[in-house]
Amino acid sequence: MQFGVFTVGDVTQDPTTGRVPTDAERVKAMVTIALKAEEVGLDVFALGEHHNPPFVPSSPTTMLGWIAAKTSRLQLSTATTLITTNDPVKIAEDYAMLQHLADGRVDLMMGRGNTGPVYPWFGQDIRNGIALAVENYALLRRLWREDVVDWEGKFRTPLQGFTATPRPLDGVPPFVWHGSIRSPEIAEQAAYYGDGFFANHIFWPKEHTQRMIGLYRQRFEHYGHGGADQAIVGLGGQVFMRKNSQDAKREFRPYFDNAPVYGHGPSMEDFTAQTPLTVGSPQEVIDRTLSFREYVGDYQRQLFLLDHAGLPLKTVLEQLDILGEEVVPVLRKEFAVGRPAHVPDAPTHASLKAAQTEKVDA
């Protein structure tokens, strides 16, 4: 099982000091977090994509390319890549390039984006969100898998004799996850292709995750990719830890109370009960995280959100230390207990390449 962090790259005032980081500080903080993730033994760093303030990561492959050069083991991913407003041709090329530079340590998570005004800036309409996700992704798959593509669709200029370049590393396209909170069509899309499905699993009740994963697993089996318990599932999670539970709550509360998305609303205690947020000791985070398996089954990837709501970089790096030293080693051990042998790991470039070779040999 893979463990890692994902970030949306928000630029948020630290409510305890009133300080707002500059874009430069936030960008550098994000890559520092990525390097730290590898240093403390995590497997994955996933980066959001936004084209509107107060978020900075508009150019994910630039940032991931930099991180790739500075790391050797870390899997680089996205959370999410906007399959609706990006040109699928550009996604195909950018991420194939990144694959080569990162020696295959690349996968992507597709998402639609929920900010209405962003769509027209890229010539699209949010009301076409599902249709864009379906058409653009179908084209993206062909661009990675076919050397010469003739294509015509609803949302972009037709392609005649087009070759996306560079070609994917070893002829193996990056593995793709599809992320959605509550659109069954996207679970269906992931199942149809035998791709992974990622439930963001933060800010929303666990019932959303449970229903979406249940549907995805059932449809994955329906489409003949394997048993329902062999579908490739990823989850998010949101934690804040200190040695003593009360210290964690005291320190995180001002960030919680003023956070974008849920701040000035429910109490931290209510939100902890209603969503997967866990604020407490490392042991409490371990117990809560292990409980996810009870409602989604054995899964492949767990990503944590650590660096939002104005938390200073120093605090985030301390969180990464706790995660890497005290939490993830226990999670690795405990998640392995009782995990059936036929439940696969998350696909990597190496495993996909091996599977492709096997197919050719057969």
């Binding site: 998402g111 639609r112 929920n114 209405g116 949010i126 009301r127 076409n128 969100g129 599902i130 249709a131 379906v134 058409e135 179908a138 609803k154 959605s180 909170i181 509550r182 659109s183 069954p184 069509e185 679970a187 269906e188 899309q189 199942a191 149809y192 800010f203 929303w204 009740p205 959303h208 229903r211 979406m212 549907l215 449809r219 998305v261 849920y262 701040g263 000035h264 609303g265 429910p266 209510d270 939100f271 209603q274």
Partner: protein, 208 residues
């Protein structure tokens, strides 16, 4: 068995809004028949959850229970105090967090309270258009009660209007099957239909 959910947005306790809501519910239940299940919800009890839902996008468990009850109801009685010539903010917020299509074809009886009868037409120019927008089937008679209507020895107009409104709601409820609540997580299309552009091509449902 028919189920009525009564939404009362009064803020004081006891409130005349609740009093009117109870009278409307009793009149409607009497007309619908014995065994009618009536659930009265005072929005004051859920005020924080309603605000939280506006901010987080999902209901806390107790509020979810209320929203589910409204969705499953055969009829709804909605009663608001009139503030500044319209429904109260809490009343509006509750219907703002009720899911899309929940009130479509659902019989609804409207009531309102205020200090004087000068506010009575707020029912017709504020409440009724909102429920029409939500595709509810609104009973023709809506009931306004002013402070003087509760005075002993007044004329029987309020009483008669309550009875008539109750009959109208009962009639609308009686002509309909109980609602089947849609599962938002159910897959209603196939991927082949999506690929060919026939499934949910354009939607105003902007959930992620």
């Amino acid at each position: 068995m028919k189920r009525l959910v009564v939404i009362a947005a009064g803020l004081s306790q006891p409130s005349s809004t609740r009093l009117l809501a109870d009278r409307l519910a009793a009149a409607a239940a009497r007309e619908i028949g014995t065994g009618t299940e009536v659930r009265v919800v005072e929005l004051r009890d859920h005020a924080h959850d309603i605000t939280d839902h506006l901010l987080t996008g999902f209901p806390a468990p107790e509020l979810k229970d209320v929203l589910d009850a409204v969705a499953a109801a055969d009829g709804v009685i909605a009663v608001s105090p009139i503030f500044n010539a319209s429904y109260s903010g809490l009343f509006k917020s509750f219907f703002d967090v009720l899911g899309d299509d929940v009130l479509t074809d659902k019989p609804v009886l409207l009531g309102a309270t205020g200090g004087t009868a000068r506010h009575s037409l707020a029912l017709e120019h504020a409440l009724r258009p909102m429920f029409t927008y939500l595709h509810a089937v609104v009973a023709p008679t809506s009931v306004f009660a002013a402070t003087e209507d509760w005075a002993g020895g007044g004329d029987a107009t309020l009483h008669r209007r309550i009875d008539r409104a109750g009959r109208e709601l009962a009639d609308l409820v009686g002509r309909r099957e109980s609602p089947v609540v849609a599962d938002p997580f159910a897959l209603t299309t196939t991927f082949d239909a999506l690929l060919s552009g026939q499934g949910r091509a354009v939607t105003n449902d902007l959930r992620l």
